[in-house]
Symmetry: C2
Subunit: 239 residues, 2 copies
Amino acid sequence: MGEHNPFEPRKVVSRRGGRVKEPLSHAAIVDKAFELLTEHGLEGMSLRSVAKALDTGPASLYVYVDDLSQLHALVLDRALAKVSTKAARHKSWEERLHAVLGSYYQVLTQHRGLAQLAMSTIAAGPNALRFLETLLEILAEAGVDEPTAAWAVDLLMLYVTALAFEHSQRAKDLDPLAHVAGAIGAVSEAEYPRIHRVRAAIMSGGKARFAWTLRAIVEGILRVPIDQEALTRKLRRKS
Amino acid sequence: MGEHNPFEPRKVVSRRGGRVKEPLSHAAIVDKAFELLTEHGLEGMSLRSVAKALDTGPASLYVYVDDLSQLHALVLDRALAKVSTKAARHKSWEERLHAVLGSYYQVLTQHRGLAQLAMSTIAAGPNALRFLETLLEILAEAGVDEPTAAWAVDLLMLYVTALAFEHSQRAKDLDPLAHVAGAIGAVSEAEYPRIHRVRAAIMSGGKARFAWTLRAIVEGILRVPIDQEALTRKLRRKS
DNA sequence: ACCTGAACACCGTTCAAGT
DNA sequence: ACCTGAACACCGTTCAAGT
């Protein structure tokens, strides 16, 4: 098993004397990687580019980081530190849920490449856990039973992540007619009448959509408790 | 704008005479790429590896394909052809929704690397459109108004795609203790009491979860029509 | 028009050698 | 123990040259 928790940086005693350049360290690598991510997107955050930005060779990073996928996980959690899980106590659980997920959405969209990173790496660092714990807390206050809450939290995070990803993809396209918008917007009325009719709605984003989906998911969560499912299974087994 | 629809293969007249090797063609490239995808995963499907498998150099593919991202879109749609959108007429819309999304899930999980591809490229080819149109049809039968259905379909596809992706990621880990399962399973009870309590539920998948989430989303969709949202906005504007 | 080898500018990762 | 240059085995994409 791993001898060292990768999310807890091992302390490196910086050598005394002329600090011409910042000594290499776990934190320095993750910080610089995050910087490159927000500046140049996920493609721009390679081990080699991080090494170069840190004024060293690519091999040097392997002292602190196992491989690229670990760096991805590290950077994602570094970014999730910016998610605010605090919301005024006096607010309702609905408002707090909206606020916390809204903060998550903000963080994802305000750093180029981050939404894409969040879509491709499963978050399991301390900041992701803190975020998750907060969501479970809020749902508990809403009266959702715990097994249901576990699946519900996953669904909520997933939706917000994907929405941020789509948002960032849209921002990347210089030509708005290109790619997705082009294909959906120009869809044949004869072949796909329904898509044609709702083509504007499909591409629209914005706060209204965010709010609607959150409400719909929460409504479903509150009305379809997981226990029903278990019950049905048990009944079937007995018949 | 594009002079040629990339989803409609341009017909190449194969030169007469000794067909020692299959002539290069749009379809041959996409087929071979799909083959490599299911055999070696997304990493194994590179332009170079496709070219090599087709017994040619990497530059040759650029006659038929603009770039890698287009090949991704092409292969995804090629795979979506396998999704069955037909379900017995006499079935209820709930059953048909479950069947169609179930078929989508099956296709994604039965081809290595496909779920990952579906997570990273937005589907807008003819087979994706056919799938989308079918989902809109089913929701219309359920009595969902069209703007709501547009957002709902997105949410449904998104969830199934992500579930298949998580499934495929789990299958990749040889060591079940590694990565995500390790981090979530070994979570500190003192620091994250709620996560600790539901850690088994978080990682569990299976049909029960699929069914529960679908029901929860549908329940929410039926109960939170989008028009309410528009109404609220209008009222706010007037006040 | 189609196909291609070679080149360009990159990757992640390993390894042997240095301090 | 930390750091590194060089090498290995790859990438996507372009370009000039061939048919």
